[in-house]
């Protein structure tokens, strides 16, 4: 059973991720009053990219991409989707936090070896942005962990299943709000699409990616979408009893995110930092203080 889960979870996540990418393009097109590509367009792109001859700038350039995709796949195993959570008892939230930063780190290492300033600028923006949203995110997660007195995300989900969603329960309400405020930054969609600003720095870290590198990077992007949303759903929307409900919740969150993405322009990096370190952080800290007061 465990083996089946281990094999099943990443494939599901992959499908959902690609579906999200396609859905994103379709919905954006409709918001733009266009017809839009077929929903399978990302798959076609990936197939095309895999069939193209790519160039490599060195071993780290290759290994970085592979490493980052691999880490995203591993991270899937830590996230409960419904009841499916293969590696539930291997470190819990902290491991998730750390593995979450591995994927961008791998991309950063490989993009760094490309010896292209656009890549370096994109990476510096990416890491800065990560620092920006980790400040409130860490406070939020710590509030959740302190409230439920556990590090294991599975326990958090089951506790919410027994009582009520964290988003609607009193002590974690503000934390949930803060999470919603930083969710676009975590997903890397507009207004926080600073890392791969195609018009400024020609798609940042991916500037030298072509062929199968770009294919892997695209898949990894899909998985990132999946992970960011799944984490939110698990922590604040009470996870789910079974996968369909879970994916339904994720879909809702994602579509809301898409509307934000379509509506807002891109911020500059320091604007983004100023925003992230002001309101979400403030709200998150208040939430944490409330949690502490209730805990006492």
């Amino acid at each position: 059973m465990r083996i089946v889960e281990v094999i099943l979870a990443p494939i599901l996540a992959l499908l959902i991720g690609m579906f999200f990418l396609g859905l994103a393009r379709k919905i954006m097109a409709r918001i733009h009053w266009r017809y839009g590509p077929p929903i399978t367009q990302p798959v076609i792109d990936v197939i095309r990219l895999f069939s193209q001859k790519s160039v490599s700038h060195g071993n780290m350039f290759t290994l970085g991409v592979l490493f980052s995709l691999a880490c995203s796949l591993v991270l899937i195993l830590f996230l409960p989707m419904g009841k499916i959570c293969p590696l539930s008892s291997s470190g819990g939230m902290l491991v998730i936090l750390y593995v979450m930063l591995l994927a961008p780190f791998g991309i950063a290492l490989s993009g760094g070896e490309a010896a292209n300033p656009n890549a370096s600028i994109g990476i510096s923006r990416k890491l800065t942005l990560a620092l920006g949203y980790e400040v409130p995110l860490l406070v939020i997660l710590l509030a959740v962990m302190t409230h439920y007195k556990t590090l294991s995300i599975v326990n958090i989900v089951s506790m919410q299943q027994n009582t009520s969603w964290a988003l609607t329960s009193l002590p974690l309400f503000l934390s949930g709000i803060a999470y919603i405020l930083i969710l676009p930054a975590i997903l890397g969609i507009r207004p926080f699409e600073i890392t791969q600003a195609a018009q400024e720095i020609s798609s940042g870290p991916m500037v030298e990616y072509g062929g199968s590198f770009l294919a892997l990077a695209t898949i990894q992007h899909g998985l990132n979408l999946f992970i960011g949303i799944a984490l939110f759903v698990n922590l604040f929307l009470g996870g789910a009893g079974n996968p369909p409900i879970f994916f339904l919740k994720m879909l809702v969150v994602f579509v809301l995110g898409l509307f934000i993405n379509a509506a807002l322009p891109r911020l500059r990096i320091e604007q983004a930092m100023r925003y992230l370190w002001r309101w979400p952080t403030l709200i998150a800290f208040i939430g944490m203080i409330i949690v502490l007061i209730i805990r006492r």
Binding site: H32, R34, I44, D45, I47, S51, V55, S203, M206, G210
Partner: protein, 189 residues
Amino acid sequence: MDRNQIIKWLKAPAKMGHKYSLHAIYFCTGCGIIEVPPVITARWDAERFGVIPVATPRQANLFLITGYVSVKTLKAIIRTYEQMPSPKFTVGFGSCPINGGMYWDSYNTIKRLDKYIPIDGWIAGCMPRPEAIFVAVTHLWTLIDKDMADGYKRYRSNYHLYRANQEQLFGELEWPPLFPLEDQVEQIA
């Protein structure tokens, strides 16, 4: 998609990929670029054909030469073309790349672009309408189906000639040859 589409898919997924995801490098050489924004935005929406502009040649497989090509631009065009991963398709847009067009007697523009890089298709006219781009794209599909969009192979096999032309134009080039200049002829296709 109809049935034989799906059968084609299963026969040659890679080829279908090339057909239906043509990512165009967004490279403005001349006035022709004016026509591209309407094409990719809501009015004509090229994305439904899978054609979207991308930022870097590494990610692209379609190269639209939009408008006249000055000598200086040609250098950039050649580098960009060589950086695109093959299979890659080139389309000359407007009459200037074909024969110099209204700049036929300019000292500073290229008259025949395909002396320097291989071109898979031409869009005549000054300016061509955006629909012409869609015609070109659908035509490119048929060429790809018939394996006739083989500009990159021609470039590979006749590289010494192209290189010779380029060097004749520019003098010494500051980047090394893309392919070894010897033993060209035997490796067509």
